[in-house]
């Protein structure tokens, strides 16, 4: 990696070259004009240019114009550029910084002044590059995590007797909302919607862990109440992991999740459900009556043991159920109750022949309700009970 000296004065170049060599920065490359250094930079690998010492007052292309051109070239946005000038003119200095200069060195050049400024500029560039690499790795990790979370999310399930569709809007790349729906036996389906406290990586991490636990329990036909009690225990265990220090202990906020879980028993025409601290799901019966499946207990993870009981309602063919997270209602209604009433009305009055068509019909009234970035995650699931016959 080389340092480039750009100065139309051969004697000044010689002085700088001697200093740079003596200071241990290696043998620099020299250029007598702005045009010649630009030509060289076009051919060079940006990563091989350690820093550029650029004289401000040159014949032909002046230093500030040259600085601007360098900054516009691909790969040189952060290369340290130290402008060298005999003038202390504040306006000229400002122009140089506006053009992208990193720092300046006054002529006549003092060896140790040059050493300090050059070293600092190179160090800053190194730290920037390291931070950029770290951020790129982080972004890549987040993309992979997002893909994993996305794959685990049930977006659609279509069976002759059961159809489900999801509308999902995470507030950031990763979400604490998780939806999982699966067949759990003949004419039987299980579903869970959970909302883990917080957003982003930590909430998504816990949501994925709990989704995995929930899917195992669903396959074993665990009742919704017992399933949520088990998730609550696991959440409590996560939240109660011993911390290394008292400071760490104080720094951790309690973690919890709200969740609503369903067991659709189509053969018996029964819906078994349990709700821990979550917004009510809305069940529309064939006669357009709306039932609210309300929470009966606080969110999970706040107590070592929960005592949720499974509730049961009738589930005739033709029912439609929607469940949603609170992000859908946030900041748009005078109260949560008013938001739920609006959704109840939409559920009762919107005619659509499938969950997908229903959510599409809801898109227009729902669009203004969807969260802007950094607000809460939001999702709605819609489920239709079609027929007992397979």
């Amino acid at each position: 990696m080389s340092i480039f000296i750009v100065d139309d004065s051969a004697s000044d170049r010689k002085i700088i070259r001697n200093f740079i060599t003596k200071l241990g920065f290696g043998i620099p490359e020299e250029f007598a004009s702005g045009e010649s250094v630009l030509e060289r930079l076009r051919q060079a690998e940006p990563g091989n240019v350690r820093a550029i010492l650029l004289d401000l007052q040159m014949e032909g292309m002046e230093g500030i114009a040259c600085c601007l051109r360098i900054r516009s070239m691909p790969g040189y946005a952060d290369t340290p550029i130290l402008v060298v000038t005999a003038s202390n003119d504040e306006i000229q200095m400002n122009c140089a910084f506006e053009a992208g200069a990193t720092d300046y060195v006054l002529k006549p050049i003092q060896k140790y002044n040059l050493q300090v400024r050059l070293r600092n500029a190179i160090q800053l560039d190194r730290e920037r590059a390291s931070r950029r690499r770290f951020e790129q790795r982080l972004q890549q990790d987040i993309r992979i995590a997002q893909e994993i979370q996305d794959r685990l999310l049930t977006r659609r399930l279509q069976r002759p007797d059961f159809e489900m569709e999801l509308l999902y809007h995470p507030a950031s790349n990763l979400s604490g909302d998780m939806v999982f729906v699966c067949p759990s036996g003949p004419q039987r389906y299980a579903a869970i919607l959970m909302d883990v406290m917080g957003h982003g990586v930590s909430a998504a991490f816990i949501a994925v862990f709990l989704q995995s636990a929930a899917s195992r329990l669903m396959q074993q036909n665990t009742t919704p109440g017992d399933l949520l009690n088990s998730l609550g225990r696991q959440m409590w265990d996560i939240a109660s992991l011993p911390r290394q220090t008292a400071e760490e202990e104080n720094g951790v906020l309690p973690s919890f999740l709200s969740a609503i879980c369903f067991d659709f028993d189509l053969a018996a025409e029964k819906l078994h459900w349990a709700n821990a601290g979550h917004l009510p799901a809305l069940l529309r019966l064939p006669d357009a009556t709306i039932l609210k499946l309300e929470s009966t207990a606080p969110p999970l993870g706040l107590f070592p043991a929960n005592n949720l009981k499974t509730q049961t309602v009738g589930l005739p063919v033709g029912c439609r159920l929607i469940a949603f997270s609170d992000g859908i209602l946030e900041n748009h209604f005078a109260s949560i109750g008013a938001g739920i009433e609006t959704l109840s009305e939409l559920l009762a009055t919107t005619t659509a022949n499938s969950p997908a068509a229903f959510l599409a019909a809801l898109e227009k009234p729902l669009r203004p309700l969807l969260p802007v970035r950094d607000m809460d995650d939001a999702c709605v699931i819609a489920i239709d009970i079609l027929s007992k016959e397979l």
Binding site: M197, L253, F256, S258, E294, S295, P298, F303, D376
Partner: protein, 128 residues
Amino acid sequence: MAEFNVTGRMDETSLRLECSGSLVYEVSTQAREQVRPYFEKLTEGSRCLFMMDKLKRIDSTGFGVLIHFVRQAASRKIKLAVVVSDPFILDLFRIAKFDQIMTVAPDEASALQALTHERPLPLTPQEY
């Protein structure tokens, strides 16, 4: 960018924490650190009211901050209540059943009355 502010008013027996802004994910650590110095001065038997009338927004992490102090209050035998008048926020407490684990009141007088008469909560925080 969300902002949260708290100012404390202490009389002989009660601390009133006037909360304003948003008690949400982005400011949760800052909110806890703002409340902590006031909270640390409380002694056994004293009362603490989180006055949330001026609070614009609370999310699940904000509830996490409150629960953090509810647990601390329980372990130090401090009586804690939350005063909420905003119907949206009040609904959140009610629907999530947080009113089963902390005293929630619509105004200061009711909160003080509830603390004085020590109405038992459906779920006590003894398990904390």
